[in-house]
Amino acid sequence: MDITGVVYAAGIVGIVGLLVGILLVIAAEKFKIEENPLVGAVRELLPGANCGGCGFAGCDACADAIAAGKAPTNACPVGGPEVAKKIAIAMGMDPGAGDFKQMVAFVKCAGTCDKAVKKYDYYGIKDCNAISVVPGSDDKGCEYGCMGYGACVKACKFDAMHIVDGVAVVDEDKCTGCQACIKTCPQHIIALVPKGQAYKVQCSSHKRGKDVMSVCQAGCIGCTLCTKQCEFDAIHMDNNVAVIDYEKCTGCGKCADKCPKKIIIRADGVQLAAC
């Protein structure tokens, strides 16, 4: 066996490898990224779902912003107070500083199959955003209501959204407040509410009372009875629909008692029945 052949072969491969290695070292120095060590620490603490609920492109971007001081330590709605506390400690800040209130999504519609009037039978693509471009909108009579075709269900990464009886319903225990559903809903009827909020108005219709009644049995008719009941100035009419100010609401429930349409619901209250 000729040993020189082996030596040449090994030598050539070795030299080529060495050259490539040296060039890469030079390149690595040239393209070095100066990363704030805090970014890595904060990124470790974030949940890593990349849901975008914080308003940044993902957990990496959120960590960047927090470390740079552009976002508060409690910027992550999914991680909640625990993560906020850990991040504050990692950043060398007072953990109590970021007061955190867990928000959850809430669908402002009670137009279930039996309560909402159907204006036609829809056989097209089963997706709210596709239906929203159909002339005359979805098959429900009310143009403000939940279509019930589950764009929010698809958007939810936490299995917290479900279509029950033709209306999207949020599972408050699973909801992290990431707002993915809010962003996708073509009807814009999903909003963030404080978790455990006692009373919520389950209607978004801006129509007048008579028009609401003609399309849905569970719609706000704008009678203003609730606003007269409230002792805390926490419920007002906004363009024919009652809106609760969650800061002022004490959860006494007088508005819900008076509501003739029973669309101000209790947190632990009426569950929607199956179709």
Binding site: A9, V13, L24, F31, K32, D127
Partner: protein, 192 residues
């Protein structure tokens, strides 16, 4: 000049690297969900293949052949390609972090993209010189860029289509599409 043009057109269309030689299928199926990332992937591959063709041709002609070590071509080519891909990765991480995250694992996987090694080996097999090698490399990678961009365009439409039978959803319909595209590319075979 005419010969170079023939090499380029032949590599890009007639012998399209993905659709008629079935090289580089991994990124072709993996990163073709969005036109934007697919095009970026194609451009990254274009950069790597062009440089790899150039460097590999130089090494082969001036080091391996004179020393009678042609049998080392695969190992040395892989070494060069791996180095180039590392370089592209560093460059993208620094200058285009968004694209870097979008390409994800498929970026380092260009190393094992057989289209790249395929280009370098074809150059040797066909006995191309330096200029011909580079032109062939550009042709091959343009073919890849074309194929992956077209595929991404089709897949964006597929994603919106709700009428696909359940058993065909996901990968099956993509593979069927790839097959149909390959058949369509057969139409170029009479070009040269």
């Amino acid at each position: 000049m005419q010969e170079l043009l023939l090499i380029a057109v032949g590599a890009a269309l007639v012998n399209n690297v993905t659709l008629s030689q079935f090289l580089g299928i991994c990124p072709f199926l993996g990163v073709s969900k969005k036109v934007e990332t697919a095009t970026s992937m194609g451009l990254a591959v274009l950069f790597v293949i062009t440089l790899a063709s150039l460097i590999c041709s130089l090494i082969y002609d001036h080091i391996l052949v004179p020393m009678g070590l042609e049998y080392l071509q695969t190992i040395v080519f892989i070494l060069v390609i791996a180095g180039l891909v590392q370089f592209v990765e560093m460059f993208l991480k620094k200058s285009m972090p968004g694209l870097y995250t979008a390409l994800g694992v498929y970026l380092p996987l260009i190393t094992t993209n057989c289209a790249v090694l395929g280009a370098a080996l074809t150059n040797v097999q066909e006995g191309y010189g330096l200029v011909e090698s580079v032109v062939n490399g550009v042709g091959i990678s343009c073919g890849f860029l074309l194929a992956i961009s077209l595929m991404a365009g089709v897949r964006e439409k597929i994603a919106e289509n709700e009428g696909i039978p359940k058993s065909f959803q996901g990968s099956p319909i993509v593979l069927v599409t790839a097959g149909l595209m390959a058949i369509a590319f057969c139409g170029f075979s009479g070009l040269i």
